[in-house]
Amino acid sequence: MGDSQYSFSLTTFSPSGKLVQIEHALTAVGSGQTSLGIKAANGVVIATEKKLPSILVDEASVQKIQCLTPNIGVVYSGMGPDFRVLVRKSRKQAVQYHQLYKEAIPVTQLVRETAAVMQEFTQSGGVRPFGVSLLVAGFDDSGPQLFQVDPSGSYFSWKASAMGKNVSNAKTFLEKRYTDEIELEDAVHTAILTLKEGFEGQISGKNIEIGIIGEDKIFRVLTPAEIEDYLAEVE
């Protein structure tokens, strides 16, 4: 990259002190499909819409929620391909941590390192910022945790959060329904109801994705059948 014609940073300050590329990246995130996460007293749930461009697309092949380690999962709003790159990098960082310390990487450490990668792409030559915001859900020795990571590389811990198209309505809805003592099962119901608020069309197990992690510390993505069960309970 050193000898390239583009070895200068494309992300530069505007006179008002903003990094316009990051603002644009956040716009890309804001027009992406809604995703949200809720931290319960005994676990974390993350969920997202899965609107596919055509009914001909095989929805089973699309996996928007991914696991980074057996006890950490992630969902995004924004550009899918950028998400896949970050998932690969984060998984590698988690494995390298294990090779160094023979221990599972704590959620905070993985979030920090992923955020550091995203920040690098706002200050390196010839690259652009990632067009995704991530919601990282994990359960480690410090308990259940939910983190949001933005294209700038800043990260925040949330009790509940939403990103993407319907973010303000979703957050207002979550603010009303969230309690510190909420249990994981309730949190899943609340997540579904929040997604339903801004959902165009009929919600079903095939056009949303839900990932949960409980006290067993194993992150897993719910099957469409399981989602249908939760939807029935919510009705």
Binding site: Q99, L100, Y101, K102, E103, P106, Q109, R112
Partner: protein, 223 residues
């Protein structure tokens, strides 16, 4: 035409013996304090034991310059870990880190023969034994250094270690009490001092348990 060999070696062996024994809720790490070169004594009061973390003590025999460099490297890594994690490294994590650090110099090794002793996350004693390039194993007890060939068979006799090949894995920590283990260490070093010229002068013992860390010393023969 015979091949020319180096008339200078980057390594030297400063001798000495190190031992560690793991108990149900304690760990004993011990080393003599003699530092030698060839048939000469450099000093009678050199500590081979280094505190890497609250619950991880490393004792190393071999080339003390490499040992010192290794200790500094691991301490620095631990400091960074503390900054990032806001807590101390566990002993098993330090064990893996030491292994990686040693293998990193696989083709110009640290001439250090290490035992790592401490308490694991459950408060049980743990001992890890290494070769110079990082191959390691968690054991109930171990000896390294110039007196190890004299010490290890005696520890095997007294502590009856189960085979590492047994399945399911059998816990190797000794049922001995802390006091009994310390007496065993003193006996073992006194015997090794008799026959190993590089072991002697003084014995330094570090005892880790739930109450903290304690240091004990015992005089050894100085000849």
């Amino acid at each position: 035409m015979t091949k020319q060999h180096a008339n200078w070696s980057p390594y030297d062996n400063n001798g000495g013996s190190v031992v560690a024994i793991a108990g149900a809720d304690y760990c004993v790490v011990a080393a003599d304090t003699r530092m030698s070169t060839g048939y000469s004594i450099l000093t009678r009061g050199y500590s081979k034991i280094c505190k890497l973390a609250d619950k991880s003590f490393m004792a190393s025999s071999g080339f003390q310059a490499d040992v010192k460099a290794l200790q500094k490297h691991l301490s620095a890594k631990h400091l960074i870990y503390q900054h990032q994690h806001n807590k101390q490294m566990s002993c098993p994590a330090m064990a893996q880190l030491l292994s990686n650090t040693l293998y990193y110099k696989r083709f110009f090794p640290y001439y250090a023969f290490n035992v790592l002793g401490g308490l694991d996350n459950e408060g049980k004693g743990c001992v890890f034994t290494y070769d110079a390039v990082g191959s390691y194993e968690r054991v109930g007890y171990s000896a390294q250094g110039s007196g190890s060939t004299l010490i290890m068979p005696f520890l095997d006799n007294q502590l009856k270690s189960p085979s590492p090949l047994l399945l399911p894995a059998v816990d190797a920590v000794t049922p001995l009490s802390e006091g009994e283990a310390i007496d065993l260490v003193k006996t073992v070093f006194a015997s090794a001092t008799e026959r190993d010229i590089y072991t002697g002068d003084r014995l330094e013992i570090v005892v880790l348990n739930a109450d903290g860390t304690r240091y004990e010393y015992m005089e050894l023969r100085k000849d």
